[in-house]
Amino acid sequence: MSNDTRYEVVVVGAGPGGIAAACCAAESGKSVAVIDENAVAGGQFWRGGLSQYGTRQASQWLKRSQAVSIDWLENARVVALRSPDTLAVCRTDSEDVRTVRFGRLILATGARELFLPFPGWTIPGVTGVGALQALTKSGLDIHGKRVVIAGSGPLLPVVALNLKQYGADVLLVAEQAPEDRVGRFAASVGEQYSTDTWVERVSSNGDGELAVDIRQSGDSIRVQCELLACAYGLVPNSELASLIGCRVRPDATIEVDAQQSTSSAGVYAVGEVTGVGGANAAIMEGQVAGYAASGNTEALEPVLAQRDRVREITERTYAAYALREEIFRLAEDDTIICRCEDVALGSLLSFAAGRTAKLQTRCGMGPCQGRICGPITTRLFGWSSGSVRLPGSPVSLGQLAALGDR
């Protein structure tokens, strides 16, 4: 076990919200560390690092983060609280473990994609939308590939444009929401963007070719492609918050007050974990939490109002993507719900509660610990996601043994 350095402010997650929080705390004179699973800070939005992005926003935060002293603990994952003021941290690229003590803790753990099951959603060639973008950025050759992007949310057209830049042949961007709500996004993608449109099923004919059955404005069409990227928005990564004891709502968002403070004293939360809102909202919330955690009331005051304005705009934006009922009725009895344990819809139907189903079918008991199927069963059956169990993410037995070794 290596050192357990103490920082006045520790931020978990180096996406836009976490970076903003860390900068503001450091500018307020606090000792700051940022813990992130990836090799380079940036999160999902600035994946690969801020220096890669030419935007004014990215360069502004790159500059601010370089002007102060912040300890970046990269390739590191927080497993749990080791004690009330100490995080148990594991390296993701080695067997090393360490503890990190904090005065204040800021959770900026982001969100993952929401998958909803339809026949065929688990076959090879079907991915998440953000997942396909991430794969492409890390080297997947998508040039000339025929791609269908489907699901819901503002990420769809963004990823479509991005994949086109990488040379993909984007055949269709299927947005389930009606046009009157999200019409303005259509212009950015062009004619492939289609509202009132969703995937009903997908099958493979064996030679890498997918047949996607699509419902489009009341009609059924079939599109042949090589890749289907499908996701229905985002689910907050609030497992660590649950383990710490922060109050988490049934939709998995962390409860926070006006200063981004959670129900646990000294613990703040910012960005997607508090409600999906995009990078702009996360940056504003990060500033609020960074100043609040540092007791910098002077700097805090002006960003509070800015944060509220950005939140209001994003909430309106995301409300447009409310999911239609049909999406929840696509799975058939033999459609897999829990990928880790191969549990199909039909074997879950007789259970009234999530915990019974979990114990009897192992739904949610696999390596991902319900991160994928939990949000699905919450939406399909109204089951609560249940308590989060240690470790917050898989950790080797060697690391687990070492973490208690003090």
């Binding site: 080791r82 004690s83 148990a88 067997e95 509660a353 915990r355 019974t356 114990l359 009897q360 192992r362 008991m365 696999g366 390596p367 610990q369 169990r389 240690l390 470790p391 898989p394 950790v395 080797s396 037995l397 060697g398 687990l400 043994a401 070492a402 973490l403 208690g404 070794d405």
Partner: protein, 377 residues
């Protein structure tokens, strides 16, 4: 019990209550089974599911080996969801002192007809190549079993219900007065006999029964098929299970039918909260990777705690409650609830029917403890 259609009300659908329901109904009794949640959702879901001939005392061995036989007989009718596997147990001797204990254990098993084989180091490593070098040997007990307890409890209940048992789930028992059980939803159910199989909750209905929760930790890994082939337990385990020290940890690793490893075990008295204790968890895991060095790189995916219902003297309470003529007890099984559930059910049935029991029933009568404590008052 002369009335062949007597009505038995069973409180608690853990593995013990579920086994009682199935066994009683098969013998023609009328059964109502009551649980505040659903079958197998308490300690039954929290433990290992190791069906083991355990020789902590002659009485423990008598009950566990009798019950193990009953499981063997039942196994053919259990569905695949119960994950019944006759993996066997290897008791591992780390040193020569342990090896002499192996010889003694072998004699004990031999005397009551339980198959076991002494393993020298070469034989041990042939059976379990992932064990660390330098061990002295072990004792293989081939007919010990691993099951998935919540599914077994559910299946026993389903069988009982299919044969006419009544089941009331999701409703708590408030109190018992004479032959009547009062439920939280204002139902009143009167039986000829009430079985208190509430595990650590037994004192809620029978306050005089000394049952203490004894907390344990478990960790389960990712799937690594054939990493170990038997339940592996260090010989020091019995010291941990039967000692009275406030905290004890022993090497106890189980292969699951899924290919996962279930890693135990720890014992603590007088801890009520279910929060995982890092010190204990890591002590337990350190022991596991000490015996199985290659397990160091396996991912742990979940750790949890559970509470065993520990009796005052290490033996379960099976038999009439001397304080209440309508109530019979079936609790205090501590860590052997899965193993001894069927034996418990048959001991109760035979006594209720006034038949002779397969093994002497007196050692498990609650009176042994309760008469004593009554005398002290």
């Amino acid at each position: 019990m002369s009335d062949t259609r007597a009505h038995i009300v069973i409180l608690g659908a853990g593995i013990v209550g579920s086994a009682c329901a199935d066994v009683f109904v098969s013998d023609g009794l009328r059964v109502t089974l009551i649980d505040r949640s659903f079958p197998g959702s308490g300690a039954t879901a929290e433990g290992m599911g190791h069906i083991v001939a355990m020789d902590g005392s002659p009485e423990e061995l008598a009950l566990s080996s009798y019950s193990r036989e009953l499981w063997h007989s039942l196994s053919g009718s259990l569905s695949s969801s119960c994950e019944y596997r006759r993996f066997g147990t290897i008791w591992i001797a780390a040193n020569d002192r342990h090896m002499s204990a192996v010889a003694a254990k072998h004699r004990v098993y031999d005397a009551i007809g339980i198959e076991s084989h002494i393993l020298d180091p070469a034989q041990l490593y042939r059976q379990e190549p992932n064990l660390r070098p330098g061990l002295a040997g072990g004792l293989l007990v081939p007919d010990d079993v691993v099951v998935y307890p919540p599914a077994v409890a559910r299946e026993l209940v389903d069988r009982a219900v299919a044969r006419g048992a009544a089941a009331i789930f999701g409703v708590d028992v408030v109190r018992v007065d004479g032959p009547t059980v009062y439920l939280a939803d204002r139902q009143e159910i009167t039986g000829d006999v009430i079985i208190n199989a509430l595990g650590i909750g037994a004192p809620r209905i029978s306050p005089h029964v000394p049952v203490r929760p004894r907390r344990g930790h478990l960790v389960i890994t990712e799937r690594v098929p054939a990493f170990v082939h038997h339940q592996l337990v260090e010989l020091g385990y019995l010291d941990s299970a039967h000692g009275t020290s406030p905290v004890s940890v022993a090497f106890n690793v189980q292969p699951r039918a899924t290919g996962q490893l279930l890693i135990g075990s720890s014992r603590e008295f007088d801890v009520e909260n279910s929060t995982v204790d890092w010190e204990i968890l890591s002590r337990m895991v350190r022991l596991a990777v000490d015996y199985l060095p290659n397990a160091r790189s396996l991912d742990a995916i979940r750790a949890w705690t559970g509470f065993r219902p520990a009796s005052a003297d290490g033996l379960p309470y099976i038999g009439p409650d001397p304080y209440n003529e309508n109530v019979w007890l079936a609790t205090g099984h501590e860590g052997l609830g899965i193993t001894t559930a069927l034996g418990t059910a048959h001991l109760l049935l035979d006594q209720l029917r006034g038949r002779s029991t397969a093994i002497p029933a007196e050692p498990y009568w609650p009176a042994r403890i309760l008469e004593e404590s009554r005398g002290e008052r």
